[in-house]
């Protein structure tokens, strides 16, 4: 069954105005730790976009639930009025194990919203801002507090995967600059440490769901900080697109109650410029969903999908445009039967014994398009340099190099070219969803002759 879902294409202007209007009148709020909003990421052509995740029922995507929790109007959107930057909320106290650290917000992309194996990074911007509840104002963060953000580490960020440079270790960390390259420090003075760090690599389906590590601490790295709210700014980068996302804000609650937090949020949003912010809100992508039972749109049917359907059935939710995927059996009702059906479709670990192919997913570094007769190598390693190369089949077993551009895409199975013998070894070449191990020989004049082809049954190692 193919279902078309428009994730959120609601009248954002009306939601925003409603939200802003409410902020002036809200007065009764309670409780502390709040839910969070994940950052949904998608790409359109050469540009990257971020928006609020609103996949129904998914943790981190429940904007309405968060608003209800905060006592905000249903149709509001947290956007900084002065700049139109989206605000994502999180809380340092939302997880067990300490009051000054959180791994929220998460970053996610739904199926096909990004390219396979697309590497996402963040770039820290601006400086740390602090909501002083006693003064009811946002100020530059005090000198003695900072937020340390630990992203993922890729080669170059103090990490080396060349054993010849690691005294034989298959992986090593450069102790000299590791501490400064492995994290980003947001302080009132600005950004220090590594401004750009990896978020994660998307799966073959372009799916991503990952979390970073945020720590509230003093300048000596000891946990803690004054009660208040903290605001940091960043934008996302992709190795496959030249245009980064628009900058956005992350507001992290540091011990305020809901009323105080609402005031902090209102202070950002209440200087509305009705002409500007609304146009800055990007539209979430239209998604073609092809997996039955995948109600959270993460590309698989797992236990969360089943639990979400059960919850919807328990709440007697009716089938609407936004939740039509919950009706797995297509009978027009969301019932426990849909959960049972999703359970049968569930194919992930701890839900059902995984098939070998699921345990062996690899990144498609090399693809041969049989229709276009085009061989695309997303990662060719020549010595220590990486290139992206395109070949055109120009005869029987003959390929002509069309382009070769520097690339820093880290793929699991890069192709290797050895100038010494002229051999181009492609460990995994995808051809119509089958995999081959291929060797080409450089015969000069940008032409490569097919040397060997071997079908691969499994892709481990």
């Amino acid at each position: 069954m193919m279902i078309l879902i428009r994730n959120i294409r609601i009248n954002r202007l009306s939601k925003l105005l409603c939200f802003l209007g409410w902020l002036f009148f809200s007065s009764t709020l309670t409780a502390a730790s709040i839910s969070h909003l994940d950052v949904e990421v998608w790409g359109e052509e050469d540009a990257l976009f971020v928006g609020y995740c609103q996949t129904p029922g998914v943790v981190g995507c429940d904007l309405d639930g968060l608003f209800a929790e905060l006592g905000l109007p249903e149709d509001g959107l947290p956007i900084e009025a002065a700049t139109g930057k989206l605000i994502f909320l999180a809380d340092f106290q939302d997880l067990s194990g300490g009051e000054f650290k959180t791994k929220n917000p998460g970053f996610l992309s739904i199926r096909n919203a990004l390219l396979p194996n697309e590497l996402l990074s963040y770039r820290a911007l601006g400086h740390l801002r602090y909501w002083d509840a006693s003064q009811s104002t946002w100020i530059q963060a005090p000198q003695d507090v900072q937020i340390a953000l630990y992203g993922g580490l890729a080669a170059g960020a103090g990490v080396t995967t060349d054993y010849s440079a690691c005294s034989g270790q298959l992986l090593c960390f450069n102790a000299d600059n590791f501490s400064t390259e492995s994290n980003t420090i947001f302080s009132g003075d600005g950004i220090s440490g590594n401004e750009e760090l990896v978020i994660d690599v998307t799966s073959e389906s372009g799916i991503l769901h990952t979390h970073l590590s945020f720590f509230l601490e003093n300048r000596n790295g000891e946990p803690g900080g004054p009660t208040g709210a903290y605001l940091i700014e960043m934008q996302l980068l992709s190795n496959a697109r030249s245009t980064p996302s628009q900058p956005f804000l992350i507001l992290i609650n540091g011990g305020l109650d809901n009323q105080q937090l609402s005031q902090a949020l209102a202070a950002l949003a209440d200087n509305a410029d009705a002409n500007n912010p609304v146009s800055a809100v990007p539209e979430n992508p239209i998604i073609a969903l092809s997996i039955k039972g995948d109600v959270d749109l993460d590309g698989d049917v797992d236990r969360i999908d089943i639990a979400l359907i059960l919850l919807a059935a328990q709440n007697q939710d009716s089938v609407q445009n936004l939740n039509v995927m919950f009706d797995v059996d297509g009978d027009g009702l969301i019932s426990r039967q849909d959960s049972h059906l999703a359970k049968e479709l569930c194919s992930l670990r701890l839900c059902q014994i995984p098939s070998a192919s699921q345990a062996e997913l690899v990144q498609k570094v090399a693809v041969f398009d049989t229709a276009l007769k085009q061989l695309t190598l997303n990662d060719v390693q020549v010595d220590k340099q990486h290139y992206q190369a395109v070949f055109q089949q120009s005869g029987n077993n003959l390929f002509t190099l069309q382009s070769a551009d520097p690339a820093d895409v880290p793929y699991t199975f890069p192709a290797y070219y050895k100038a010494s013998n002229g051999l181009l070894e492609i460990p995994v070449l995808s051809v119509n969803n089958e995999y081959y191990q291929v060797t080409l020989r450089n015969i000069g004049d940008f032409k490569f002759q097919l040397e060997s082809v071997k079908k691969i049954d499994h892709l481990l190692n």
Binding site: G97, G152, V198, L311, Q314, C346, L361, L460
Partner: protein
Amino acid sequence: MSIVFSNKDRKLVMDVRTQHTLIPSKHCSLLHARGSYFESEPILQMKPSFFIHLTNISRYLLLLGLFGIVSKSYAQPIDLETMEIHSAPISDLQSSQTNLLQGNSLRLKQSDTLGKLLEAELGVSNASFGQGVGVPVIRGLTGSRIRMLQNGLGSHDASSLSPDHAVAIEPIFAESIRISLGSENIRYGGNAIGGVVEVEDYRIPEQRMDQLLSGWLESRYDTNGEGTHSAFRLNLEKDWLGLTLGGFYRHRNDAQIPGQAIDADFIAQQFDLTDFDNAEGNIPNTDSKSSGGFVGASWLGEQAMAGMSVSYTDNQYGIPKGSHGLDPNHLDGLELILPQLEDISGFEDIFGPQALFPNIRIAMQNTRYDFKSEWYDPIEGIHNIRFQYAYVDYQHQELEGGSVFTHVKNDTGEGRFEIDHHFGHDFMGKIGVQWTDQDFSALGVETFVPETEKQSWGIFTTQNYHWHDWIITGGIRFEQTEIDPDATTLSLRGSALSPVSLPDKLSYDALSGTFSVRWNFTPEANVNLSFNYGQRSPDIQELLSFGPHLSTRTFDVGNVGLTNEVMKRIDLGLDWESDGFKLKLNSFYNQMDDYIYQQNTGVFYEVDNEVIRQRCVSEAECVPIYAYDQRDAEFFGYEAELSLPLYEFSYADLSLTLFSDYVRARFKADDVPRIPPLRYGAELGLGQQQWNASVRYARSESQHRSGAFEMDTSGYHLLSASADYHLDIAEKGELWLFVKANNLLNEEIRNSVSFLRNYAPEPGQSFVFGFRASY
């Protein structure tokens, strides 16, 4: 009792009041009557007299004690025919470096695992990983440095790869277990630089017996975990044909403990967690079930024998819950949805506790084929030519919640060809070659060691020279190893890291040597001084690990730049045994150059997100990254034991044994982790030929030298007791009844050598009842 012992037909005739299995000729080399010294452990209630000259019949009787034949002495005439007596090699008999466990003392200590069985031996401790795993640790060394042998060839399981893998040797069939640190270890290569644990169960018949049919049946019950352990063995011998058949079944439920399974202080300190599930009174998922058996057949000729055996073991056991799933607040968001569900009936299999916090279990299958042949006294000067080969088809699956996440496979063939020779009466030794061919892989969702082929061969000799009261022993071995990973690169699934290229092949040459001098300064005492130099080539997992290892909750990073680890050890030992006492003292200093160890990098791998980062919000969801590295280390310590007869009652003798052992292991800057603490204690024994009773107290001190990133362990008192009784049945049968009590004080024991000590203490109080019927 009449005894006929002839070398020609290798036949023993005796009046057997108790049944014992002969130590076959594999262990025997020619021992000439002239002035050679030898020794044995007391079998049953023999009064000890361990150092004798072979000059009269009484010493022959003691010699037979060495063979495990005599358990009760009766003053009856003895007829002797042609006499060529075989005993263990002289170098093996340096008792300060060899501990031979056999007979009742072995059977009383029988346990589910080899480590548990041997943990009370001097210098030995048990690296447990829940009750299903118990690997011997000798003087603080284990894993790839301790060679586990089954009938002379390696066990070839995965126990050296990781502490959560059990040794694939079923101890209940053991007729003897030899713990050796002596010069003979050079025969077994670099993986024996820390010692050898050799289990002999003679599943290939090697001796002619005078009985057509013999065997035994044993069963025991352990109150802790309601454990049952039963086994049988049949020996059939007719003319030139020998057959053996054995089988076992063992099962136990979760181990019972005093207090809580997980050390809450540790969790709070390590993970900042105070709200987590902690079992009280037992350790969940420590149940185990194992079964298996063997069949062996031999042709037993006059001058030679040849035989083979096939054995199979199925072992299924659980791994105690570690930090994984410790925090109930991390279920990828499911933890927020489930509390809202009012009815999960029909979905318990995916939302029930076991599905949410799944157990990790290991299902192991081990099939082993052994072949052995010997040619006795083929020519003058050659006492024995021996060929052995074993092929081991080992595999285990690591399962999480019933789903396989890793499949470990280890197919290994090992061959050994040895010649025992002698030049005259005083000079004897061995020359041999040994080779192995191993295919190893650990693949699956968690693939942390790629498919790899390892080939090695070694050539060695050990020589003993006897000069007056001195025995001089020397040995040398050259070994070559090639390790060839099938993969050209290693990658982390879903990671932003570039793949790691691997070298085509890794080659290592290792040279080892040994020299020892033993001075028998009285017939009752000797001093032994030995120097051992050994090189160990890096093992597969040390070179090629790359990925998260969920069972140990680590991310292992191999190091293809590792060089040989070099051991330089000096041992000084004193053995003194008289009618009045028995004293055993060992001291050692072991300098390990380029000691291979896992260094905590201080960086984490977040399992769920498949990302490496320097800090994690939820450290329980992250695993620390350990990289193999080398640095110098030193180990030193001692073992001491003094046994004294206290009083002779009319009905029994009272004896006292005092013991202590200690090992200190350190790098230059800090301590080697998982080292046993100082241990000392006493054992009081009361008994005679038919029955015995003993009570043993051992004090293990705190281990404050726990190593970097490790927590100290507290000291504990271990009180245990045992009693056994022999009952003759009919003419040739015997019934042996026994009872044991372990950890009588029900102490909470956090074993410092255990990887999982903070999650799984040693079992609490237990009582074991059992019998063994032999015929």
